[in-house]
Symmetry: C2
Subunit: 196 residues, 2 copies
DNA sequence: AACAATTCGAACATCTCTGTTCAGGTTCCG
DNA sequence: CGGAACCTGAACAGAGATGTTCGAATTGTT
């Protein structure tokens, strides 16, 4: 039954350990982007050697955690209704994106230190497309300005949400205020220019 | 003549070397925030031991380079006329800040990896005050919106300029377009809300 | 029960970087 | 010119981290 190329299914305990390692790695990396492999193994309740048996290098582990997190995030974003008035949709997207970014800010830093830029970008592709799609539609319908490139507006979206996360982290902004502030900023930045 | 607390003046060759090290360190850190001490010494045309004779640790050297760069930047910003229409002043400030941030983006990363957050913030104090002052005045005069905190607007200023630098670095924005895009973004984000 | 897959810790090999020591040479400064 | 300050390269010590090897024990699968 097993095709020549298909690897034999892992044993149950191996699968459990892999899952535990991924979960522990995510937790550890969120706390400290420079956490070492030993710490991750310990938190996963597993020997360091076992970890290396499943992930041949630290970079590979970080990549796996990062990719999986982006997948999860994209799945969460799938539930957001992006139809209707683009401005309202933008607010909904902000509300949902905010917590995700805030939560995994440190994980992104870890990724930036061990993964090539293109790989990080590629991993972001699907969530990026959601934002990009909404912005493009908003422009077409005249709800958003057209004198700035979609790419820039996407970058701005990212940037503003991230900045809010940093400000919360620094104690200069509260958790509850963040979505409102982000929204007030982006809605103004995206609005069509009056004098055209 | 030398007071008890005053250190004896360094010898001329020592002063030259210190200057060479600072300059080399700035160049190296701009190219690679993780550059090692040996590389910096080599570029300064000096032995590693000599470097450690003047800076007792890598962190101290990074701090010195960073502080000096911020000083230089602040001095450059001093020439910018921040009086008159706040909107026009903002544009002038953007034009001047843009190149500085673009140039020393990598240096900031190096600082973030070896200096405590408060120290980085403290080093930014003077340039930060310029921005903050302009924004406050613009708000008072009704040129800028008042429904967002000055702190947030300052953070946004930083963030947008930085994002532009990243986008240029990634090839998604050209060097010449950057100031215009930054300005178009910030002016919109700072403008008073119409429906108040 | 038997076999293979998996795990374990401890030890090992390496690498890279930081920071120090030393002994001898060079440069400055009065 | 004489002494102190300074520089030098090489070598050393040490901290961490990654990744590997080993033999023995354990656990899943059939």
């Amino acid at each position: 039954m097993s095709s020549p190329t298909a690897e034999r299914a892992k044993r149950a305990d191996a699968q459990r350990n892999i899952a535990a390692i991924l979960e522990a790695a995510r937790d550890c990396l969120v706390e400290d982007p420079d956490v070492n492999v030993g710490e991750i193994a310990k938190r996963a309740g597993v020997g360091r050697v076992t970890l290396y048996g499943h992930f041949s290098s630290r970079a590979e582990l970080v990549d796996a955690v990062f990719a999986r997190t982006l997948e999860d995030s994209d799945h969460a974003l799938e539930a957001v209704d992006l139809s209707g008035d683009p401005r309202a949709a933008l607010d909904r997207l902000i509300a949902s994106s905010w917590h995700i970014v805030d939560q995994f800010r440190s994980l992104l830093i870890a990724a930036q230190r061990s993964m090539p830029q293109e790989r990080i970008r590629a991993t972001h592709e699907r969530p990026l497309r959601r934002i990009s799609g909404l912005i493009a539609r908003g422009r077409d319908e005249g709800s958003f300005r057209s004198d700035l490139s979609v790419e820039w507006m996407v970058a701005l979206f990212h940037s503003v949400v991230h900045t809010a996360a940093d400000e919360v982290n620094a104690g200069r902004l509260t958790d509850e205020d963040a979505p409102r502030v982000i929204s007030a900023t982006l809605q103004a930045a995206f609005a069509p220019t009056s004098h055209m």
